[in-house]
């Protein structure tokens, strides 16, 4: 289905004048059972159709259903939308929708000073206040002074709107998220049509439920018109984006699409071995529904089996992929080393999450960089890439596949919870314009036994002569024991081990000759370089620009190639007086940069489970720039 944007003014005839703003950030917060993710996603869809640039940040508890009304059960969804291009889901929301006291308690501190609160006053019962540890009712004790508040009887008004549909009480109350959504649509002048279409598509087979949701949406919208809060009615004009066809995409969806596209471009069958783990499970779940693309998903008994099956598939000549998060990478390390030793093309997706141990499974972090670089026994070099935006996950999968085959090596691609769940508008790529990916083993189809040696290498890439089983007269054995150079026979000689260790390292190092140089945004040398990697791209880009607006000269470079680094990186980092490396860890890239290039790089490090705050980072950059 393709919908085309309509840019009609969806607002009714309230007396309130409509304000124009460049950018707005809204956060929906409520109980896990309140449907906040659904409301947020619908808002994002309507925003996309309207034509703003946007970015979303869902944040949910690890518990499937924590006790209703409890602080542990609060789920939220933030969306920032703008008339300009934006790169983060925003730091502080301008508007907070709080469906119950626990949601208010958990999220009020994030709301910008003087921000707008939309509150479901029905939920502020003494029982719910107690569950949220409120000693008195914040709606009446003056603690919300300084905020603008729309107190709406969201539950009762929604129930009243669907009164005569004969729904159970529970089902009637469930429509409250659509009421809240309708109200927020009025506030931000959104067209209801995309959501009405969605309701029809989703609930068409349950006409009563569909009708109830429609009515609640309209009722919320009408309620908005009666509000008398100053400056609440706001319009953010559409952004000027590069022309083309767009869709919304999350990082995990982009990984899935990247894998299917890679399979298409290489004409290799896709095998995905995985064991469910947040936040990587979506990839398994979504691929499993795409059998028509020849996808073989394999839900393994554990992460070791998952990578084992992927190695087996890769060895057999398929596109072998495994995906997991940090704890799963820990389990896969031994098998990953087998892929290093046997030099097989293998793709490993690591959707990082907060650790150590089980950590905070639904929260984000960039803390697996050193694990994937070094978390294996022996000298075990492999290629590591990191995606920078949700849409970039698609292109980095293609890159991972290209390099894995060109160099016959395992490649780890890092994403994280933030990228996995964040949605943004994405220009749909034209498949016919994407680069083909070469599969070197196809060229060996007619190689003679005299010419064939399993560890004979390409002089440029040092890739070994990999051929899958099945070809007559080329039978040979590979494995985890040290291999003799060229023949691949088991070998224990000291000279050979030194040589093979060097060759494995050199092969990965040579990848640098086949990847782009790192680009510098800003002066090519000078006072301060901010160097970032992976998912912090948006926050760092925003902070660097804010610092420039505050009058500082700052350059920015962002890495997607973590091993090997782009070949000009050493030179780049040495051209600035100061280097600042912001990361959502305690300094993992910084350690690598200092060790590799002997520069006194400083860090800006947050390990909160949340994406980096662009505002706090801006403060750090401006302070550091003028130190």
């Amino acid at each position: 289905m393709t919908t085309t944007s309509t840019q009609t003014n969806g607002s009714g005839g309230s007396g309130m004048p409509i304000q124009e703003r460049d950018r707005v950030t809204v956060r929906f917060a409520g109980d896990s059972g309140d449907g906040m993710q659904l409301a947020g996603n619908r808002f994002a869809d309507a925003t996309a159709v309207f034509g703003n640039d946007f970015s979303t940040l869902p944040d949910f508890p690890a518990e499937i259903r924590a006790p209703a009304g409890s602080l542990a059960g609060v789920s939220s969804f933030q969306i920032s939308f703008s008339k300009h291009q934006i790169f983060t889901p925003g730091d502080e929301p301008d508007t907070l929708v709080a469906m119950n006291p626990a949601a208010l308690k958990s999220h009020l501190s994030a709301l910008t000073k003087g921000g707008l609160l939309v509150i479901n006053e029905d939920a502020f019962t003494s029982g719910n206040l107690k569950k949220a540890n409120y000693p008195s009712n914040p709606l009446s004790d003056g603690s919300l002074d300084g905020y603008r508040i729309i107190k709406a009887p969201i539950t009762t008004a929604a129930v009243a709107a669907v009164d005569d549909l004969g729904l159970t009480n529970q089902n009637a109350e469930r429509t409250k998220n659509f009421f809240a959504l309708g109200l927020v649509y009025w506030l931000y002048d959104r067209d209801l049509q995309p959501t009405l279409d969605w309701i029809e598509e989703r609930f068409g087979r349950l006409p009563n439920i569909a009708e109830a949701n429609r009515r609640a949406l309209f009722a919320g919208h009408a309620y908005g018109e009666t509000t008398e809060i100053a400056d609440a009615h706001v319009r953010v004009p559409p952004a000027v984006l590069t022309p083309g066809e767009y869709r919304t995409i999350t990082g995990n969806q982009a990984l899935v699409l990247g894998l299917i596209t890679a399979s298409h471009l290489t004409d290799l069958e896709l095998f995905y071995g995985s064991y469910p783990i947040t936040p990587a499970s979506d990839v398994l779940v979504e691929l499993a529904a795409l059998r028509e693309f020849g996808v073989r998903t394999f839900q393994a008994e554990d992460e070791i089996s998952a990578i084992g099956t992927a190695i087996g598939a890769a060895y057999g000549g398929a596109l072998g992929v495994t995906g997991t998060s940090g704890p799963g990478i820990a389990l896969k390390s031994e098998a990953l080393n087998l892929a290093v030793m046997t030099e097989l093309p293998l793709i490993v997706l690591d959707v990082q999450r907060s650790g150590p141990s089980t950590g905070m499974p639904t929260k984000t972090e960039q803390t697996d960089l050193l694990q994937v670089m070094f978390g294996r026994n022996g000298e075990s070099p492999l290629c590591v890439l990191a995606a920078k935006t949700p849409g970039d996950c698609f292109y980095m999968v293609l890159e991972a596949v290209r390099l894995a085959y060109q160099f016959v090596t395992p490649v780890v691609l890092l994403s994280d919870t933030y990228l996995a769940n964040t949605a943004e508008p994405w220009p749909v790529p034209d498949v016919t314009q994407l680069d083909q990916i070469d599969i070197p083993y196809r060229k060996l189809e007619h190689v003679s036994p005299e010419e064939f040696e399993p560890y004979k290498r390409d002089p440029d890439t040092l890739a070994r002569m990999f051929i899958p089983p099945g070809q007559p007269d080329l039978q040979h054995r590979i494995g985890g024991l040290e291999k003799s150079d060229i023949t691949g026979d088991v070998a224990y000689s000291p000279e050979n081990h030194q040589r093979m260790t060097d060759l494995r390292a050199e092969k990965i190092a040579r990848i640098a000759n086949f990847i782009p140089e790192v680009e510098i945004d800003g002066p090519e040398s000078g006072n301060l370089l901010v160097l970032s990697w992976g998912s912090t791209y948006g926050a760092v880009f925003t902070a660097v620009n804010d610092a420039r607006e505050a009058g500082h000269e700052v350059s920015h470079a962002h890495l997607q190639y973590m091993n090997p680094f782009p070949r000009n990186l050493g030179d780049v980092v040495s051209r600035y007086k100061k280097v600042l490396i912001p990361e959502a860890n305690t300094g993992q890239l910084r350690m690598l940069i200092r060790a590799n290039f002997l520069v006194d790089a400083q860090g800006y490090n947050e390990v909160t489970g949340q994406p980096l705050s662009a505002r706090l980072l801006t403060e750090r950059i401006t302070q550091f720039a003028s130190e």
Partner: protein, 350 residues
């Protein structure tokens, strides 16, 4: 979606046969064997080469995947493709390989430690899934490669290097584990009966689905004569029960004893006595594994030790289901990448 039952295919219809008549030597590589002289692995290697040559599948269509252990050195000596992988994980690699390359015959070589200790989880699941791989577990009831520690099949109280005053744990019975894992082919043989071993290997290789074969293997260095009490030539007839599908379960030099059902399991009866009529006929294809489990639990000295194919049932493999899902989905659903990239809805920016 309801699972469609895919058609069952014999080995020959999936894996092309070689044109010429293949011999044992066609399956032997030129790599020097490195097992201790006298090790039971030598005989297994010879019978494997012989058994497979009877199939007449070209060696390049075969892949041997092993874990780690003396036994797992095996692939080097086969003139096939092979991977000597990591400890316990061979079933996973073999599964991924077979599922993406149905045209290959995939074998797993493993030891009692490799399969039942570190790799126990994978063994359960590869059998449960009925992935079409042939698993040969060389059971020497010891850790050979690491020089003589006890294994999960070592008997309670056994004195080994890591149990100087005897182990304090009870052993697993590999056949019981396989049957409990819903294996569709379960068999046992041993290193010193070449003909029986060759036949058992061949039957396993021809099975459509996951095949599990326990091969009793003597480690003359660290656990010599572990099975001698019942496998030695002079006692074999009395102490082993050679199973044949459809035949009565008879043993003894003069086939004068048989197995019958008792209140608590199986019992030995006189084949010429009044209970002779109660002697069971072996039915390997029986859907319920009940009698198969009772057989698996027969142990020396109370009972004769069963050899041969205990269970062989045919049901679709994991790969059959998976391939048929793909085929059906390709037929029913659009599979256009351009369309997939667009997702549920798109909008146009002018």
């Amino acid at each position: 979606m309801v699972l469609q039952t895919p058609p069952l295919e014999p080995v020959e219809s999936i894996i092309p046969l070689a044109d010429e008549d293949l011999k044992r030597k066609d399956y032997a590589s030129d790599v020097d064997t490195r097992w201790c002289p006298g090790c039971g692995d030598y005989s297994i290697l010879a019978q494997m080469q012989r058994g497979l040559s009877n199939l007449n599948v070209a060696p390049e269509k075969m892949v041997f995947v092993s874990g780690i252990g003396c036994s797992s050195r095996f692939p080097y000596y086969m003139n096939t493709y092979g991977m000597h992988s990591i400890h316990g994980r061979a079933p996973t690699i073999a599964s991924g390989l077979k599922l993406s390359r149905p045209d290959l015959m995939v074998f797993v070589i493993t030891g009692d430690g490799d399969a039942l200790s570190i790799g126990g989880n994978h063994l359960l699941h590869v059998l449960r899934r009925n992935v079409d791989v042939k698993i040969f577990l060389f059971n020497n009831r010891i850790y050979g490669l690491t020089k003589g520690q006890y294994s999960p099949t070592s008997e309670l109280g056994k004195v080994t290097k890591s149990s100087p005053i005897g182990t304090t744990e009870r052993p697993l019975n590999p056949l019981s584990v396989a049957l409990a894992s819903e294996a569709t082919f379960v068999a046992r043989s041993f290193d010193t009966d070449p003909q029986h071993l060759t036949e058992t290997i061949e039957r396993a290789a021809r099975h459509h689905g996951a095949a599990f074969v326990e091969i009793l293997q003597n480690c003359n260095i660290f656990n010599d004569r572990a099975f001698a009490d019942y496998t030695d030539r002079d006692v074999r007839d009395e102490r082993l029960l050679y199973l044949e599908h459809g035949e009565p379960m008879l043993f003894g030099e003069n086939k004068d004893k048989g197995l019958a059902v008792s209140a608590t399991g199986l019992r030995v009866v006189d084949a010429n006595g009044p209970d002779a009529g109660l002697i069971l006929h072996h039915d390997a294809t029986r859907p319920s594994p009940d009698v198969h489990q009772l057989l698996a639990r027969c142990q020396y000295p109370e009972m004769p030790v069963p050899m041969g194919v205990i269970r062989q049932v045919t049901t679709p493999t994991y790969g059959d289901y998976l391939d048929s899902q793909i085929e059906v989905a390709k037929f029913k659903n659009r599979h256009d990448v351009t369309q997939l990239l667009k997702g549920r809805s798109t909008w146009q920016v002018e």
